[in-house]
Subunit: 303 residues, 6 copies
């Protein structure tokens, strides 16, 4: 059960309203690496988790992320304070209000649609979607996803800190950023406390393909030549660069086939015949009709 | 530049059509951990990457994932072969075709809307969205996201292998699953070849909050008691369980504030007055109107 | 700040696993009227709210809805318990697991993609989107939206109760449904404690059009004839049925016009000429080309 | 059956082109409270409605909303007139056209992608989605949703009127805003003409929980203290503030449980053991590897 | 302005309720090629259109498509008639209602969420999105898009007709399908009445690349060999099969470059150094940590 | 199988960074007519295609479109080069970075969320969705969709060329635009090489309705009068303008009906009675309560 304390986890002191900055900060309110995504990632994992240690960890952090959602949302609300009142009361002229709507970012939508409140969108106004939540119900995956998600959230906060000079906002964002570091550390511990945790799941890989590196991108462009590193060289790896050896690596013919019944085969033949693009005709086409009488052959548009 | 060889990377041999199984396999074609998501994750990273080693690695694997997209898509196409022809040619009676549409999964949409071809949806018919792609342009995040994504893709393949008894499909899925393991290994090497890679980015955390563990979820439910582990105990961690110490951790009052201009303040006061929910009245409401004459007070609905 | 107690707000006792029922119940976990939508609706309103009474109310109920999200999610997790283990451990044969995936609903995606955990989707597997949250930052709107949302959530719970015979689930759903009734009552009180609250906002309507009822749908179909009721008749309403009086009600000519500059006008004329569909020719078209030599005029397809 | 008259319901007179204003007005064309959402809400309700009075009402208003969609779309088209021609004919230099694309809002997408025509997006360019339509097929819900939707549409129009000083646009928006007021009145009448209409549906609430108010958000922050009002006090309400009494309100232990078969239990035990996060080890983690040789313990990042 | 006549454009006679069939038919109500998509495609084009002939045509057909939306929606409503009442009144036992929800397709969501009314989703429950509408404001594109859209709608109706044996539904679907043919013919005429209409827009192609065919997919797989046809052979085409000639076709080096300022260059160098994946180390990685003590080198998982 | 060559298909030479232009160009990277949409359209068609000529054609062009995706993405990456470094290294002051974020378009999200790399969104930041891909598995539809898609992509490139004065970008966009023309020509040839290809599919239309033109939009507005052209006049068409003849064109009564069982009928009657909006009462409503004591009747708001 959740409970709420009216004090924020971190005090929010905003120097002055700035709806445009508010709309940029939405990235961590309703964006893909924002606090709602974090809270829902851990909460959905926690609900299905049976391991008591992880369940506790997940619910601890999910709850903290909800508290962070409140902090970042409160900052956004403060940044929109003046604009909200001005628009609602029509206290400025139409021209002034119009100008205030078009200062940058997507703050216009924040004002017009959301009335100056924090909206669950990213900084481009894209509504939050659960497609951001990559919970899969397997802890060795989910913990890796959590580690990655915390590292992403950290960098977004860093970027936001870099563009803000309001000291109160900077400090609160610094706190939120720091907590992502701490959370990452906890998830790392929980992952490596599962032994083994790699490869994930139960099924081992097929030995013939576990250590192969397919060199699919080749070429001799100046700065972008093939580079060897521990990720594709050394005794751990068998590198396959020959194009023919990259295809049909099972030794088959590289085609796709299915055994269909005689009845299906007959129908498929009929379908094929009916819809064949006959390679032996050169039909007049709509493009030729459309190129117009004065345009000559469609193959030579005039420049 | 991409090139294409008509041979698949792995030969596909499907024993017999099965559109329902085909619709389940779409999870790895157009689902969040499917091959398009993988290819686009690495491709978008590769395009913006300046490090020659990582750029090469990302384009190698992006290209291989596109080749995997082709393998899984070819399996789905084979599984739909018969159904596609039967519906297009109306070779069965309406009743038989109707039954074939309602065998399970979302194979009905596969047939009716997509004509039996592999669609870029997941197994519930949800169209693929770039919201699945978590490229952030910072390698220490992106490589962690890649590691996590590979581990997720591995487990989805494992689950699909577990529900399939067609040996040809099982083998091809096994290959695809194995490659996710290999890719994870490469991305791990590339991540740890950046030193340091933690915490991500440049800004360090605030020391006061980097090692704190907020025990936000408490209680003594039977199996779900608080559990100590390396993720929240030991010398690395300072645990804060006291509810008062969890709030306003900066030592402030835990409120959100902004300095607004006098003009804004005046407008906000007007707005507040106009829209106040007066706590001192007990108004008749729509619910009371709606409870109806014979229903008594709305506070006591009859069971 | 949010805190969490490991005890649920309502004890969940599930009689036996049933993943298909679990996938139906997702409607109230990640569906449009589900608990996340409710929690986020009130939470976003509460963050931007300055009225102390409403802010308190909104945060009280937002927090309770999060607690309900936990209850419904826990039910779903319990219903997936067996299936989750069976698939993860591959404890049944492929054929048995395949059958268990295709029992109905969208439970297949629940198992394959989400590993048996509660996913933030509706019962068709559609990911939750913040497009469901209709917070507008104006209390006389938002409270009406809340009233409506509570009434919708109530009816979805009622439908789910109607299809469930597991007494423990039925009871927990009954609790959740009841709370929607209580919340609706609170929101009604808060709305009517704003005086006046209709029409919303500050701007009055144009008197000439506030009491007009345009009878846009007409006809004498048997059961669907025009019906008079208090919503479109009586002294409150001026009914306009004449088609001519329904158009251009301002007395103008009913066209759309804009004053463009001479330069714009010139460009627009060029554009118009270049892209005119000439009404005076009868061109041969792609359809005629495509109807084929043996098909005759395209206007008479053979049946 | 729908018919169309080329005269608009309200004459549109736009003073001069302004693509940025056009992109803001899209909020009521393809936004969540825009005219398409309104039309589709009432139209889908009307199709399934059997009550002759409501069916007539819903189709009357759905049809009028389509006519409003045409009015607002026509305004947007007029505002884009010049820009459309200039871009299509490349009548200005590249630099001038580039500047005209970056004047604010999301008008760039309007020009580049939609060619200056009204697009079914909101003012941030988010495509309209049927997720905005909350039709549930139960009139006591749907009418409440309609009332709320009309009140939301009213306020969005009010905001748009506040930022526009073009008298022709202002007048047309005033008309559209006024009609939302009138429609709200009609839906109110239709709702209260159902007796009783509260609580919605057939099932009554559980008496023990219908009048309870859970005081989930507590605290003594300055302006945000707990407030009593008719929504949570008085004889109608039983307030529960004690945290222990808020949890497990059924008197149970507040846990979630399910009876699983012996076979399931065995599998779940295996799964649990395999994936346990062992609380008794302190593993080296990726974070420690990644913190780098010169960084010291990960728990103390240098500031 | 739109008007409505209560008579449908085509009488709907449904033999008996069948919610599953209803959910399949949603494909043409709220699916990508359904009637709402059609209506909105033509309506948005019509609003921005200045050519009087095309504007008239587009509004004629948009209005008819809205009338078709009503026909298909009415069929769906009829197919859900019984189910709607049974669930609302709970007239059957829970077990019976549960069974009726899980008969196939996504009819469960239709009943539980939408209450048996036609929902603006496709047959998998995916909400309609304006992403389906490809209006671009250039008639030579838009008319081609319309032609294509009509042809798609035609085939979806054909598939639905093939799975339905209810004569009344079959007949109504036949009418709707036929109208798509007629509409395609009209759009073809309007397209070819623009001369020239190919290539679209004003800018001609670069002559060096207009008639080139890049043979990007090669190989000698049995059935999938390279095939010559009028689309890639004959005097109209210059075929380029040599891989080297396919790359950097402008004669450059095929790299991407940008001139950055000295300041930028310095920053980029710092960034590159900080985030380099060092190719000269072979770091221990998380995968190696995770493979566990008993697992040996990660490069050789045991099968 | 796909392979990759590090040389681009067309050399990219960008004169100087410009993140705002970069965000506009995203339209062809991750927008609805962009290169990913094109590649996926043809790739999904190619996978399911059995006709050897078309399969080859589709895979040739799909592969080229992927190569174009790389070209346009590389341009965007170059345009973001400086901004990426400046933000990552915080090399400018906060104020300067803030200003650089708010220069226009949605470049702020590009920098903050995507770190300056090309993102799979359109120019408004909307994530790419497979809803853009209209593959239907019937070649006479799909080829028409491809023709239309190529024409749309051509015009978007033309618009982007019109707003760019960087010669290197202009040239590369010119190449990409030209290839759309060439592709359209190939698809036209493949379509018309199927004979017949109109109407699509197997089922002919109903003769009574194939040549009818319903004149649904009427009226005498100045510039928008009914216009006759080859699309709705001449001997090919039977025009129906009479409103009565447009409705119930089958000669029925234009109603929707279904035969329900006696049991269903009884339930439906109960439901109807319970939820009737009684036309014979004039209930007091929430609007009247809300209009407030001083406001008079709700039907006469003061202006």
């Amino acid at each position: 059960m959740f409970m709420h304390n009216k004090r924020l986890q971190y005090t929010v002191r905003v120097a002055e309203p700035n709806p445009v900055l508010g709309s940029l900060l939405l990235e961590q309110f309703g964006g893909p690496d924002g606090e709602l995504a974090a809270a829902m990632r851990y909460f959905t994992q926690g609900l299905a988790e049976d391991d008591p240690g992880r369940k506790d960890l997940l619910l601890d952090i999910a709850t903290e992320e909800l508290s962070h959602l409140e902090v970042i949302g409160s900052i956004v609300a403060m940044l929109n304070k003046g604009a909200k009142g001005q628009l609602a009361e029509a206290a400025m002229s139409e021209a002034e209000l119009y100008i205030s709507m078009t200062q940058g970012g997507d703050s216009h939508t924040q004002s017009i649609l959301y009335g100056g409140g924090p909206a669950l969108t990213n900084s481009s106004g894209v509504p939050w979607t659960a497609a951001y939540v990559d919970t899969r119900g397997e802890p060795t995956c989910d913990l890796r996803s959590n580690i990655a998600a915390e590292s992403r959230a950290k960098i977004i906060y860093e970027r936001l800190i870099n563009i803000t000079d309001d000291p109160g906002i900077k400090e609160a964002l610094g706190f939120l950023m720091t907590r992502e570091i701490a959370h990452q550390k906890s998830f790392e511990k929980a992952l490596y406390a599962i032994e083994p945790n790699f490869p994930t799941g139960k099924l081992p890989g097929m030995p013939a393909f576990t250590d192969v590196y397919y060199d699919m991108s080749q070429g001799d462009g100046a700065e972008e030549a093939d580079v060897s590193g521990p990720w594709n060289s050394g005794e751990n790896w068998q590198v396959v660069s020959d194009r023919d050896e990259q295809a049909a690596v099972d030794g088959g013919d590289g085609t796709a086939s299915v055994k269909v019944s005689a009845a299906d085969k007959k129908v498929l033949t009929t379908l094929a015949k009916r819809t064949q693009s006959n390679p032996d005709v050169d039909p007049t086409t709509g493009a030729e009709l459309g190129a117009g009488p004065g345009a000559g052959a469609i193959s030579s548009p005039v420049q």
